[in-house]
């Protein structure tokens, strides 16, 4: 039995072992996944696997097992590869069977050749996903998941992770990348340049080459766009090769993959040469240069992961067990433990948010409901469970919205702050668009993973003219809010991608975007220094409490919910009663809203069924909110 280090550091040798045992029949593939599944089940084994999210690529050993938490940004075409192939030694005629799974390059020994016509060859299919780190992932998610990983200490004490090692490995990495081409250049220089400059040139060439390479290699001549949905994102993008059930994954799914890291420099070299020789070989010129660049970027920049195990994540909150649906006792225990102390957490969170919203507790209540809302079902076109809140009456002074966003960012695992302005609406790309020259989906702001908080700040918006792009962007936002879908632009047609994004709009008056419910903010205090006020608010919260808030918001979103017949009846009665008195005041739409509020109100208290009291409370909240709106209208009317 191989020891721990083995399956972490050289998973391929394990695969080789299993392959050799079971060879020609195809069982071995199943056995491999089973083996790794078992290994990862062992206590905290998943934590031992270094994560590409936290550790830079050049620290990681090639061909070791890594994990990566990511969002599927684009799906490339499936590729056919040699699943099993045979090598032959031309001298001895000895034949050896190899597997091509989990590899980019068909390996063979120095004295061997690959027999492409062998009858043993099996062609298999795999799918490549272009994955990026979860867009808008909050800093705390990264920190916490990094801290829970005791990798540095345990896995590879001898290999990497020490600063000195860092430097060397980096250089080595570069060298690996550089050498072949550099050498080639040198050779060329020598042979063609002749003897005249012979002595001087090589040195200069070398420096030039490496200097040039510094610029070119890490971000090719026009820098390679890693295609992150949000601007200013960092992190590795990755080509994830999936071997099984890739049909079940969708664009924008958040995955955690365990697989073999492949940064074989050959990959990039093969590419560059292919490009050089493309004029000679008609077979290679079927892809344009851009497509080549996008589909096989340098491995040092966009590493490959050959997936052994992949799972969709329900959430990316590292404070919660990854999968809440399974019946494991540990998870259940965790949930029930947390549920028992739910109400104090809720009270504290409410207090915290009330302060954040300048003392407005009603708005804070609604903000909690908003933060735990999620689209739980779709009835034909109608998304159910979306709860877009428009927080109107936000003070423009003191960058209130900015600070509010910072607080929200501390609470939710993924978020983005969209500052609406004429400029940004006209010039940014919201909707992902298919680029047919490069054959990829160029990402846009609205390509976000499920349950990302999108905070739209309308207070910054000035008067001005939107151009066509701006109008499209606003329409896209409107569609996102109303239907929870984004129409990706495929040039010749549009494709609808359903999404599940929590949208919070902050505005002065009523927002120009549609929303499910408008809450008018009534600040009780206007702090003279907003920044100081907000940051003191945050420092006042203990980290442990903050973590509880985070668990609270993520966990409640995942609970089931039902309404008993009895309460249904009561709600019915209520509705009929309300309509009787004043049919104008309560419409089906209002009932929708009330039911939504009731749903999230119950869930926020940890109750999975609607009770009579909650229903009344929901009605009360709605009434308060409406009264405030009306009052606001009156005020405005007087002003006019």
């Amino acid at each position: 039995m191989p020891c721990v280090g083995d399956w972490l550091n050289s998973p391929l040798s394990i695969v080789q072992g299993i392959f050799a045992q079971n060879a020609p029949n195809s069982d071995w593939e199943k056995k491999v996944t089973e083996y790794f599944k078992e290994k990862l089940k062992e206590n905290n084994a998943t934590n031992w696997v270094p994560s590409l999210n936290d550790v830079p690529v050049h620290y990681l050993k090639p061909n070791s097992l890594v994990k990566f938490r990511c969002m599927v940004q684009d799906m490339f075409d499936p590729e056919f590869y040699m699943g099993v192939y045979e090598t032959v030694d031309p001298n001895t005629n000895a034949r050896v069977l190899h597997f091509g799974k989990y590899r980019d390059v068909a390996e063979c020994g120095p004295q061997q050749e690959i027999d492409l016509n062998s009858s043993q060859t099996v062609t298999l299919e795999r799918q490549t996903f272009y994955c990026v780190p979860v867009p808008g992932e909050s800093a705390w998610v990264k920190e916490i998941s990094f801290l829970t990983e005791p990798v540095q200490a345990r896995v590879s004490p001898s290999t990497s992770y020490t600063p000195s090692r860092h430097k060397r490995s980096y250089e080595e990495d570069e060298d690996m990348d550089l050498h072949p081409s550099k050498q080639k250049e040198q050779h060329v220089g020598k042979s063609s340049g002749g003897d005249i400059h012979g002595c001087v040139e090589p040195k200069r060439l070398e420096t030039e080459a490496s200097a040039g390479h510094h610029v070119i290699s890490p971000n090719c001549s026009p820098p390679l766009d890693l295609n992150f949905p949000l601007p200013g994102e960092k992190g590795p993008a990755c080509l994830v090769k999936v071997y099984e059930s890739w049909e079940s994954f969708k664009v924008n799914d958040v995955l955690e993959v365990f697989g073999v890291l492949s940064v074989d420099p050959v990959l990039s070299i093969v590419n560059s040469e292919e490009r050089d020789s493309s004029t000679l070989d008609p077979m290679e010129c079927m892809d344009t240069a851009e497509e080549q660049r996008v589909h096989s970027p340098p491995a040092s920049l966009v590493p490959r992961i050959h997936v052994i195990l992949a799972q969709k994540l329900q959430h990316i909150n590292p404070l919660l067990p990854a999968c809440l649906k399974d019946e494991e006792s540990k998870t259940c225990e965790f949930v029930s433990n947390f549920m028992s102390e739910l109400s104090p957490v809720r009270a504290e969170l409410l207090g915290f948010l009330t302060h954040a919203l300048l003392g407005d507790s009603l708005a804070a209540e609604y903000l909690i409901l908003h933060l735990i809302s999620t689209v739980y079902a779709r009835r034909d076109v109608l998304p159910l469970g979306k709860f877009t809140v428009n927080l109107s009456g936000c003070p423009r002074s003191g960058a209130f919205t900015e600070h509010l966003y910072r607080l929200i960012q501390q609470l939710v695992p993924a978020s983005y702050h969209l500052r609406m302005s004429i400029e940004s609406m006209n010039h940014s790309r919201f909707v992902p668009r298919k680029d047919y020259t490069a054959n990829r989906l160029v990402s846009g702001l609205l390509q976000l993973a499920s349950n990302t908080s999108l905070v739209i700040d309308e207070t910054q918006l000035e008067q001005g003219q939107l151009d066509t792009a701006g109008v499209h962007n606003v329409t896209a936002l409107g569609n996102l809010i109303t239907w929870q879908k984004v129409d990706y632009d495929f040039n010749y047609h549009r494709m609808e991608f359903p999404c599940n994004i929590n949208v919070l709009i902050t505005s002065e008056g009523r927002s120009l975007l549609p929303s499910d419910c408008q809450v008018h903010l009534q600040p009780q205090i206007i702090p003279p220094n907003m920044e100081e006020y907000m940051s003191s608010l945050l420092t006042a919260v203990l980290p442990s409490v903050l973590n509880k808030f985070r668990i609270y918001l993520s966990l409640l979103r995942l609970l089931d919910y039902s309404i008993s017949d009895e309460v249904t009846k009561a709600v019915e009665e209520d509705f009929v009663e309300m309509r009787k008195n004043n049919p104008e005041s309560v419409t089906a739409d209002d009932l929708h809203k009330m039911l939504l509020v009731a749903r999230f109100l119950s869930l926020s208290a940890g109750q999975t069924t609607l009770s009579r009291e909650r229903w009344l409370r929901a009605k009360q909240l709605e009434a308060l909110r409406k009264a405030r709106l009306q009052q606001q209208q009156c005020v405005n009317g007087n002003e006019l």
């Binding site: 664009v251 292919e274 076109v381």
Partner: protein, 860 residues
């Protein structure tokens, strides 16, 4: 599969061997690459059986009798490979043979078929002469019967014979295709095609694989599995027949057979390694096409020492340059002479799977196509095509300096046949693409469904289940989805009758009109969704623009044209500006769009149903006003809607209660449970698609009578009160609705029940929209003239009363305005408003009875 990457350059000067001129046809049966023996074969390590996945599985079973034991021909193969005098030649003088011995083929040159891969000679195995597998030229009939092509179970002679029989005999009077204009369906179809070739001179014979399958299942299977070998055999067969029959015909080159519609039609997503080297048909959309690539087919080399020349054929993208001159034995003396080499056209095309085939939430797949010769530049980006071709996988080449190989194959399709699917869409009938292929089980299921008595209600329920009640509206939309039967009256001068049903929904905001529209838009394959606010006339119809690259004028079509044969959903219809709306007049009755812009004058088909939603002018529906007054749409447009529904918020306790229960259930039921309850959207979609394309009901005798009665009744109701309440347009609407209802039942005949339902629905819609708010009587003239008949009558009465009043006043030449009004009010038993009074005055003034100047009324 395992296509060899590097080939042995065992080329021989076959040019000089005129003594054994193989017929050009022989050259055309190249064995599949993967089945060819390779280097190792010749060095004595022959693989017994090549590894072609499906063939392998089949061939031992299918052709067990044909195969002798592999080891036997292993031995025999070795010496033969080195036997220069053997007729076995790799790479053939395919294109350059002048004057073939075959009688009729005469001088017609053969054109290489790069689409079939490397042009190589078939290597055939005589299976019965045990131990002595002689590779013989295929058409030497002496041994032909026993020969199969290496690695397959294809016997050239019998295959050719079968195909000739197919060409000569195949008749299918029922199968009608749109290219079949001028064909006599009772004569052998493909013989007529050959005749056409003779007349037109286009040497391509398109063969529908479906026909072949119904004719000879086995031949079809062979074609699918070994296209590379079988198609050249077909070429041979077709040419023989053709030149037998038309010996004097002069063609550019010999006929090439292009099979299409291989039944293995696949979605791009289903392509898998097993399809490699097989004939497939896939559909998709062209997204990019490359420039023309000249591909060298045959290189011409000349020795620089002795001027000896030689030709080398391409072998999988490579030319093996001869290193030694055969004549003078000088090494590296051969130089390529470019302008004596042969090139063929080639083009790389990217095909993306069509949006309909894409599973939700995934990005589309693409596949590379290679088009050759005539097929180059046949398609443009944006075209929807069905491509028939051979699926290929090529290993990415070995890097000469690195021992490792990328373990990935590159895949592409060599195009044999294109079939554009939507080039016809803007003109001509488009039934073919409309007919989605349904599996038999599906059809069975749908038919089963159609027999249910309550199918109509069921379907209506399945439509937008999240929208509560509004059953009649849903029924109306359902009928709209099915549409009426298309009738052609061109010979009597009335052109096409509209078969599409138009519906207008108007009502209070927040009554889920938009949601209904969204649902319909999502349901139908060719739906368009626009908002009246955001669309201009140009966006709806079509506009002409200059292509920035080619400087050509291009017609860009708008929403209405794009939804030809579909439904155009227009939200906020009332917000649309006047000029935009006027475009709709033509579309909604004539179903065409006329365009005269920038020198382009044309008429486009826009056979689209319109589903529009409008809000009332005062944001809330005013029940005291008529529809026209509420939505302020011109009645000319309104009368073009077959059904106008009001979606009002009913003030009714029972309704509220049901609504509340429905909504509450939305908020806790899990998704699975909801789906169980209702008919699946996919089933509904298939049901509609099937009915639309296969059911074409006609009016039955009884139904005709019922319609007449209904119409007469409708007219009678009006005539009793001195007005006309129905117009022929309403009769047409009734017919359409009845037909649509018959379609729902999958009935070929419109029967009385259909008419009954049409009447009911029509009345229901009328009741809602054309009820005179003052009298409560259904009055169609609200829609057709914009004013109810009672209102008109009342106006007249008032004018008469006023006239009497004035006359009773005696001879006074002028009267005070206010005085008159007061008198009239005193006299009248109903309230007389100032407006009514003024209207009455105006009516009298029109009769030249009086004139009004300022505040005085003067009699004339």
């Amino acid at each position: 599969m395992s296509s060899p990457a590097s080939t042995p350059s065992r080329r021989r000067g076959k040019r000089g061997r005129g003594s054994n001129p193989p017929t050009p046809q022989d050259a055309r049966s190249p064995p599949s690459q993967k089945r060819r023996t390779d280097d190792s074969t010749s060095t004595g390590d022959l693989q017994p059986m090549p590894t072609s996945p499906p063939a392998d599985v089949q061939s031992p079973g299918a052709a067990d009798a044909l195969f002798s034991s592999p080891p036997q021909f292993r031995h025999s193969a070795i010496p033969l490979d080195f036997d220069i005098s053997s007729p076995l030649t790799y790479g053939t003088p395919s294109s350059r043979v002048e004057g073939t011995p075959r009688s009729g083929v005469r001088g017609t040159p053969v054109r290489q078929r790069p689409d079939l891969g490397s042009v190589r000679k078939a290597r055939q195995v005589d299976l019965h002469s045990d131990g002595l597998a002689e590779d013989i030229v295929a058409t030497e009939q002496s041994l032909g019967q026993k020969l199969v092509i290496w690695g397959t179970d294809v016997n050239v002679a019998s295959c050719k014979e079968k195909f000739q029989r197919f060409l000569q005999r195949f008749i299918d009077p029922l199968d009608k295709e749109d290219e079949d204009i001028g064909l006599d369906l009772n004569e052998p179809r493909y013989m007529q095609r050959l005749q056409e070739i003779n007349m037109v001179g286009e040497p391509f014979l398109n063969v529908n694989c479906d026909h072949l399958r119904s004719f000879d299942e086995n031949l079809y299977r062979q074609l699918i599995c070994y296209p590379q070998e079988v198609i050249p055999t077909f070429d041979m067969a077709a040419n023989e027949i053709f030149f037998d029959r038309y010996p004097d015909s002069i063609l550019e080159h010999q006929i090439q057979v292009r099979p299409y519609n291989a039944l293995k039609t696949r979605n791009m997503r289903n392509l898998n390694p097993e399809d490699i080297d097989q004939l497939i048909t896939i559909s998709g959309m062209v997204i990019r096409s490359s420039q023309l690539i000249p591909e060298m087919q045959e290189a011409f080399f000349r020795c620089q020492v002795c001027a000896f020349t030689t030709r080398v054929e391409i072998d999988r993208g490579r030319i093996a340059e001869p290193s030694v001159c055969k004549n003078c034995n000088t090494t590296h003396s051969m130089a390529l002479i470019h302008n004596r080499s042969m090139f063929s056209d080639k083009q790389m095309i990217k095909l993306q799977e069509s949006p309909e085939d894409m599973p939700a939430g995934q990005t589309p797949h693409t596949v590379a196509l290679f088009a050759h010769n005539d097929l180059v530049d046949k398609v443009q980006p944006g075209d929807r095509v069905n491509v028939t071709g051979i699926y290929r996988a090529v290993p990415i080449r070995v890097n000469p300096r690195v021992s490792s190989v990328k373990s990935v194959y590159k895949t592409h399709i060599d195009v044999i046949h294109y079939r554009k699917t939507d080039s016809k869409r803007l003109h001509g009938v488009d039934e073919e693409t409309e007919q989605k292929r349904f599996t038999e089980e599906r059809v069975e299921m749908l038919k089963e469904l159609s027999k249910k008595a309550d199918i109509y209600e069921r379907l209506a329920l399945a439509l937008a289940p999240s929208i509560y009640e509004h059953e009649d509206i849903k029924k109306g939309i359902l009928l709209q989805l099915f549409g009426g039967s298309r009738k052609d009256f061109t010979h009597t001068g009335r052109g096409n009758f509209r078969a599409e049903i138009n519906i207008l929904l108007c009502g209070d905001p927040g009554t889920s009109k938009s949601q209904l529209l969204q649902y319909v838009y999502n349901l139908v394959p060719r739906g368009q969704y626009t908002s009246g606010k955001g669309s201009s006339a140009v966006g709806l119809t079509a506009y002409v623009m200059k292509d920035p690259e080619t400087r050509q004028l291009v017609l860009q079509t708008g929403a209405l044209v794009l939804s030809d044969n579909g439904i155009c959903c227009i939200d906020e219809f009332d917000k649309m500006n006047e000029s935009t709306r006027s475009v709709l007049h033509e579309v909604m009755e004539q179903q065409t769009l006329s365009i005269a812009k920038a020198g382009i004058i044309c008429q486009l088909n826009a056979r689209t149903s319109i589903l529009a939603a409008a809000n009332p002018i005062e944001s809330q529906w005013n029940p005291k006003k008529t529809t026209i007054e509420n939505i302020q749409l011109p009645h000319t447009l309104l009368s073009r809607f077959d059904l106008i529904f009001l979606m009002l918020d009913p003030r009714d306790e029972a309704y509220d209660r049901r609504l509340a229960r429905h909504l509450v259930s939305l908020y806790y039921q899990s998704e699975e449970k909801m789906e169980e309850e209702y008919m699946d959207m996919a089933v509904l979609r298939d049901y509609i698609a099937y009915a639309r394309s296969y059911v074409n009901p006609r009016l039955g005798e009884e139904a005709g009578q019922a319609l007449i009665e209904a119409y007469v009744d409708m007219r009678k109701i009006g005539s009793g009160r001195g007005m006309v309440s129905a117009y022929p347009r309403q009769l047409e609407s009734l017919i359409r609705l009845a037909e649509a209802h018959a379609k729902v039942r999958f009935s070929e005949k419109v029967e009385t029940i259909d008419v009954e339902e049409a009447k009911r629905l029509h009345r229901e819609a009328l009741k809602q929209s054309a009820t005179d708010p003052k009298t409560g009587i259904v009055d169609i003239s609200i829609l057709t003239t914009g004013m109810s008949a009672t209102a008109r009558k009342r106006k007249e009465e008032l004018a008469q009363a006023l006239r009497k009043l004035i006359q009773s006043k005696g001879k006074a030449p002028s009267l005070k305005y206010q005085q008159l009004l007061d008198d009239l009010r005193a006299q009248s038993d109903t309230a007389v408003t100032k407006e009514m009074f003024e209207e009455a005055l105006r009516a009298l003034a029109d009769e030249d009875f009086l004139t009004v100047t300022g505040k005085t009324v003067r009699l004339l």
